[in-house]
Symmetry: C2
Subunit: 199 residues, 2 copies
């Protein structure tokens, strides 16, 4: 006989299962944990979710996470406002910041994926065109994911951006640093060969 969780716990498991990479078993474990944990801890979690969701919006310029109209990168005076790096998602900004990049960003909020019903109208492309017209960039760096959707998006963007007199670049594909050559896949090695440089 299947054990019947009390209804409020069942609802909690249902909501937790909607989170990425949380399956039904993990959701149950998390729910049991929350039921056992001190009341304050569980209520704090609920409060921080609500608060973050209510206080955080998209930066009106780049589309990254912001707790005021503009994010701290777009508001900063020490960034190079002539270089724009186009990424798919807000979390990509965090990754590129680790590289020491000092330009600014534009988040598309996804990549073109006709099979999932994501068309150019669903991405922040008109906002991008608007920014290019008003902000006068020297260089646009395409930093999209190295997969089919990312490449389709890059091709689409190149087509749109060619009418502006702009340097358009793309992140280099190749062997990741610190990795082991023998574990690199054929596609990566082929890109690494294609992009080889005089030493």
């Amino acid at each position: 006989m299947r054990y019947r969780l009390p209804a409020p716990v069942r609802s909690l498991v249902n909501e937790l299962t909607k989170l990425p990479s949380i399956g039904p078993r993990s959701a149950e474990r998390l729910a049991y944990y929350l039921m056992k944990s001190p009341k304050e801890e569980a209520l704090n979690l609920a409060a921080t979710i609500r608060e973050a969701k209510e206080k955080i919006s998209s930066c009106v310029l780049c589309g990254g996470l912001a707790d005021s109209e503009k994010c701290y990168i777009c508001s900063s005076d020490s960034r190079d406002k002539k270089t724009l790096c186009i990424v798919e998602n807000p979390q990509d900004i965090a990754a590129i910041e680790e590289s020491g990049y000092m330009g600014i960003y534009h988040v598309l909020m996804g990549s073109l994926s006709p099979l999932d019903g994501v068309t150019p109208d669903d991405l922040r492309i008109s906002e991008l065109v608007e920014r290019i017209k008003t902000e006068q960039f020297d260089e646009i760096i395409l930093a999209l994911d190295p997969n089919v959707e990312g490449e389709a998006t890059a091709i689409y963007l190149k087509d749109i951006l060619k009418s502006f007199n702009l340097k358009i670049t793309q992140l280099a594909y190749g062997i990741p640093m610190g990795g082991n050559l023998e574990y690199a896949d054929g596609m990566t090695l082929s890109k690494a060969l294609e992009g080889r440089r005089v030493y």
Copy 2:
């Protein structure tokens, strides 16, 4: 340069990291997901956590999850009230229910672990003794985890329960069903041999 998440998102990541098996990276991914998801979905999650935490308590008899004074198993008329199965945690009840067991339960809320500071006073042992005095069981089944803490707890309980005139049993240890003998560890095989039965 390390990317500075807006403060409300940082708090959310902190709270999420407290959950079991959610590391800093998973917590960040969940936080980004919640920031991107429809407002309703994130607020629903917050509301179900709060609601479950406020509506769910421990069953006054067995200690399992309940949304009223007694859980549905303790309230049921179709259970065998003479057989008591002792488990460590509420989630163990769900596992044992799958077996078709029709007796009732007593949750200890953990196992003895002097290194973690868990002593008999931290477990629901006095409640157990009280139940044994009033409810008149025929058999007590020890269903504790097959590890050092579970075995220490079983030994401690046997010692306490011996003064009552009761049949005390323990779950069988052995090869799990559907498994492959060659993958069973030495300890399990030794228990399986120890508990071998005439065929």
